[in-house]
């Protein structure tokens, strides 16, 4: 569906994407995980055929996005990071005019508008102005809009950034349904839970490069332990406590607000911390996540 080799993008002196290889297969949900500024959005814009690559080769549905931009864009759906809805139009008018941009006949667009409003649960808002919608509703409308041409690939750039937890779950639920219907999904996110829940396979990006790739489970297996013990001792004390626990595990991360101990059996490690007479303000044993993978690979957390 998407094949990129040695893909680069520079804006003047700034190199946003510094040579990446990516392959997305039909029917899979593929993710780009990384912090802000990692090059995710620049990559998405190149794949969406609205940003010519500076170097490397890129094929989308077998087509060259630079030579066949309109043909590529006719077959993909794009949900951009920032809403580009027309706030002076109603909810259904936004969908309707968008369907017309794809050259679909009016009758077809009308049926699809009704169907898509149902799908994103906005039917009773059909006549509302976009300005009156909540952030979550706008996002769902943008997702509906990106589906109006029945895309073969759906591209979502940070689909739930800025949404409250409840609104995020509604969006996730809709994306799950699309995935079940066999739509190929490509998404970027800086939320590790989103990447874990939605993607079959993902690449971790940092500073314009891919630093790891695989399924969420593979990445965790490869780059983290089964469990993590999180210890909080209060601000400023972590550097001082760290030497007293670092022999308990193979890997330790000291963050400003907590210490992370990577272990296969977290409870055992925690018991030994207590045996040493240390009394953390808070202690927690949890499964490793992609956040830990990212921390391992880059030395930084995903969300600052």
């Amino acid at each position: 569906m998407i094949a990129a080799t040695g893909l680069r993008k520079s804006f003047g002196e700034v190199e946003a994407v510094r040579g990446i290889d990516v392959e997305v297969r039909p029917g899979e949900a593929f993710g780009f995980l990384g912090p802000n500024g990692a090059g995710k959005s620049s990559t998405m814009r190149m794949v969406a055929a609205v940003s010519p690559p500076s170097a490397g080769t890129l094929r989308i549905l077998g087509l060259d996005p630079v030579l066949d931009g309109p043909a590529v864009r006719a077959r993909i759906g794009v949900c951009p990071q920032e809403d580009t809805l027309d706030t002076e139009l109603t909810v259904s008018e936004n969908l309707y005019v968008y369907g017309r941009y794809f050259g679909l006949p009016r009758a077809v667009v009308r049926e699809r508008v009704a169907e898509l409003l149902e799908f994103v649960q906005l039917t009773d808002k059909a006549k509302a102005m976009v300005d009156d919608l909540s952030g979550g509703m706008k996002r769902r409308l943008t997702i509906a809009r990106s589906l109006v041409n029945r895309p073969e690939i759906l591209m979502l750039d940070e689909p739930t950034t800025g949404l409250d937890p409840q609104a995020r779950h509604v969006v996730w639920d809709r994306l799950f349904r699309l995935k079940e219907q066999g739509v190929t999904i490509v998404l970027t996110t800086h939320y590790m839970d989103e990447a874990e829940q939605l993607t079959d396979r993902l690449v971790v990006m940092d500073k314009g490069l891919i630093v790891a790739q695989g399924s969420p489970a593979e990445l965790i297996r490869e780059h983290a332990t089964r469990e993590v013990v999180e210890l909080r001792f209060g601000v400023g004390r972590h550097d001082e406590v760290a030497p007293r626990v670092d022999d308990l595990v193979d890997r330790i991360e000291v963050l400003p607000d907590r210490i992370l101990l990577y272990a296969d059996h977290g409870e055992e490690v925690l018991a030994r911390v207590h045996e040493r007479g240390l009394a953390p303000v808070a202690a927690l044993v949890r499964r490793s996540t992609l956040e830990d993978v990212f921390l391992r690979l880059t030395g930084r957390t995903l969300v600052d």
Binding site: S51, G69, A74
Partner: protein
């Protein structure tokens, strides 16, 4: 039952691409036509009554000094018509374009579909042209009772003239707005471009009154070319070879400006949207 398996294809050309935006602009117009109709009906009437009838009542000039107009009213009305085409041509592509590339970013949404920047420019300019034409037609009708129109065919020909004049402004200013970082220059375009042209490019008095250097300056402004051409048509003074040649120069000048503007607008919008 519509064919729901219908798939999307790229448009075959810029005209077909712009055609896909027809429904969008129709919805925009449906939201605004009442206001714009009232203003295109009322504004010329107010101006013409105040300047043409009331102020013009004090002006008893020799027709030779009014470029052949029998009265000041007949002189000023074509000037006002052309000035309106300029105002609309500029107005539809300043803040509206800025909003679509920067504030609402609707153009970014549009270009994520098979549409190309040239399709967007053509549709936006076509809408602007429609606004200029409809407002000019209303203006021409409102002026009928004032008895200022020389011939019906002359008045009919002023309509495409206003379209051309509107495009001579809309094209280049679309190009500017499509690439502008913010709207700070717009007020400059209005204060240092549009208003001086409105006042000094022959709409209200013959440019010969300005004195040689300023007259030469006035004669290179697009508005003067538009005003002079409109006046020739409404007064029916297109009766000598030299007048016809001058009219042809007006058309060529305005058409060249519109064509250059089109090229620049497509290029600047393309660079803004596809980067």
């Amino acid at each position: 039952m519509a064919d729901l398996a219908q798939t999307s294809r790229p448009a075959t050309g810029t005209l077909a691409g712009a055609g896909r935006l027809l429904d969008y602009w129709a919805i925009v117009y449906r939201r605004t036509w009442r206001g714009s109709l009232v203003s295109s009906f009322l504004t010329p009437l107010l101006y013409v009554v105040a300047l043409g009838v009331l102020l013009g009542g004090f002006i008893a000039a020799d027709p030779d000094r009014l470029e052949g107009a029998p009265t000041y009213l007949a002189f000023v009305v074509p000037g006002m018509l052309a000035a309106q085409a300029m105002t609309l041509g500029i107005g539809e592509v300043t803040w509206p374009v800025m909003s679509m590339v920067k504030w609402q970013k609707t153009y970014f949404g549009m270009v994520a579909t098979p549409l190309r920047p040239a399709d967007l420019v053509l549709a936006h300019l076509a809408f602007t042209g429609f606004r200029v034409l409809s407002a000019s037609a209303v203006f021409a009708l409102v002026m009928v009772p004032f008895g200022v129109w020389g011939s019906w065919w002359g008045v009919l020909l002023t309509l495409p003239t206003q379209l051309l004049l509107g495009m001579a402004f809309a094209g280049p200013i679309f190009g500017y707005a499509a690439g502008a970082r913010d709207e700070s220059m717009f007020s400059l375009i209005f204060r240092l471009g549009m208003i001086p042209m409105f006042l000094f490019s022959g709409a209200f008095f013959p440019v010969a009154n300005l004195g040689a250097p300023l007259e030469a300056l006035a004669r290179v402004t697009p508005l003067w070319h538009g005003v002079d051409l409109t006046r020739m048509l409404t007064l029916g003074t297109l009766d000598s070879g030299s007048e016809v040649l001058l009219a042809a120069i007006h058309v060529a000048y305005l058409a060249a400006l519109a064509a250059l503007g089109w090229w620049w607008a497509v290029r600047r919008l393309g660079r803004r949207l596809i980067s």
